[in-house]
Structure formats: structure tokens, C-alpha cells
């Protein structure tokens, strides 16, 4: 009965590689988000999608590309990984843009 799920939980990779993180929500929400939590635990929004349409694209490098195949899924693809990309990435969803956002368990990305 998981509401927002992410895979994988942990991702360890070498610099320069390309990787993807998947997110799925079964809450029937229209809006989904990606957040990045740095080593100081500070959470910052990266992207938001509403009904498969990109709404927010914060100042994130072009190497990050979100893809929403349908309302229930929002994947994050990262090209040419860099050391500074190491962080925990959270997916979230909400019914409307101003409503409560529900977060997934996170994906800890480590770039070596």
C-alpha cells in the first residue's frame, strides 16, 4: 500500500556515467516533484510536473532530465554524473499545486 515509491533505494556509480531514478505514486495525484537533499539535509525543489507537463525547472543543470510517461510516474535521468551530484533525491506528489506533498523514501546517489 505504498503511496510514493522510488527505485532504487541506493545508487553507487562512477563519474561520467548515466543513471535513472524511477518514481511512482498510487495516490491518484496530478502533480509530481523531484527534490534534492544535500549533505546538510537541506531540501530543494528541482522539477515539478502537472498532468505530464513540466511546471517548474529550477536552476538545475541540463544533465538532469525528468520524464513523465503518465500521471503516476516521474522519472529522473542524469547524464554525465559528477561528484557534486551525490545527494539524496526525493520524489513527491500532491493533488493540486498548493496541496500537501507526500514524499517517497528517497534514493541515495553516490558518485565516485
Amino acid at each position: 500500500d505504498t503511496a510514493v515509491s522510488q527505485t532504487p533505494k541506493y545508487l553507487v556509480t562512477q563519474m561520467g556515467n548515466d543513471k535513472s531514478i524511477k518514481c511512482e505514486q498510487n495516490l491518484g495525484h496530478d502533480t509530481m516533484y523531484w527534490y534534492k537533499q544535500d549533505s546538510k539535509k537541506f531540501l530543494k525543489i528541482m522539477f515539478s510536473y502537472n498532468n505530464k507537463e513540466l511546471i517548474i525547472n529550477e536552476t538545475v543543470p541540463n544533465r538532469f532530465s525528468p520524464k513523465s510517461p503518465d500521471k503516476a510516474h516521474l522519472n529522473l535521468h542524469i547524464n554525465s554524473l559528477e561528484l557534486g551530484d551525490s545527494a539524496v533525491y526525493f520524489c513527491a506528489s500532491s493533488d493540486e499545486w498548493a496541496d500537501t506533498q507526500y514524499f517517497g523514501p528517497g534514493t541515495r546517489l553516490t558518485v565516485l
Partner: protein, 112 residues
């Protein structure tokens, strides 16, 4: 610039010792203020949403209040299981994107 500041950064309490966490915000018109709890290695877990000054919400030992400049999370007679990082976040009034602006969090440790 929209900003959320939480204090203290860390708080140690004895079991049963009540206290309050502060969240100060400067946003161009508050649309909503959210409190989350985050346990180590997990995603933020929703606690409360407050929309207008004077509003209060309670859940077990937690009570959240809101004024025009800040919010408090009051913890009454805390137990060790209340140990976690508590995050505050806001959405400003003119936003139609769902962009949550987070504070840096308060890490609470409750000793038995």
C-alpha cells in the same frame, strides 16, 4: 527573497520535558505552511498544514500554531520515539507551481 529559518538547529530534551520549535518565514504572501517529520534514511512524513494566522492543529503530543511571521511546533511531554528532524516549509501566495521552500530543519533528540 522567500526564506524559511528554523531554530534551534538541534534540541535535546529529557523524556517528558515539553518545548517548542520555531519556524520563521519571509514570503510574499503565505499560501500554506507545512510541517514534516523526517527520520534518518527516510522521506519526510507529513504532519500538519496551516493556512492562516491564528490557525492551530494537533496530533498526539504535537501542536502547530501559525502567526503572520512564524510558526511553532509545540511538543508536550515528548517520548524517545519523537526523536527526528522536523522540517518546516512554505508555499507563497503567488505561486502556482507547488514550489515548497524548506527550512534547514530542527533535529530533536529525546532521551529516556
Amino acid at each position: 527573497e522567500d526564506q524559511v529559518t528554523q531554530s534551534p538547529e538541534a534540541l535535546r530534551l529529557q523524556e517528558g520535558e515539553s518545548s517548542s520549535l520555531n519556524c520563521s518565514y519571509t514570503v510574499s504572501g503565505l499560501r500554506g505552511l507545512f510541517w514534516y517529520r523526517q527520520d534518518p534514511g527516510k522521506g519526510p512524513e507529513f504532519l500538519f498544514t496551516l493556512y492562516s494566522a491564528g490557525e492551530e492543529k494537533e496530533k498526539e503530543r504535537l501542536k502547530a500554531t501559525l502567526t503572520k511571521k512564524e510558526s511553532f511546533l509545540h511538543i508536550t511531554a515528548p517520548k524517545p520515539e519523537d526523536s527526528a528532524t522536523y522540517l518546516c516549509a512554505v508555499i507563497h501566495g503567488s505561486s502556482n507551481t507547488g514550489k515548497l521552500i524548506f527550512g534547514q530543519g530542527t533535529t530533536l533528540q529525546v532521551k529516556p
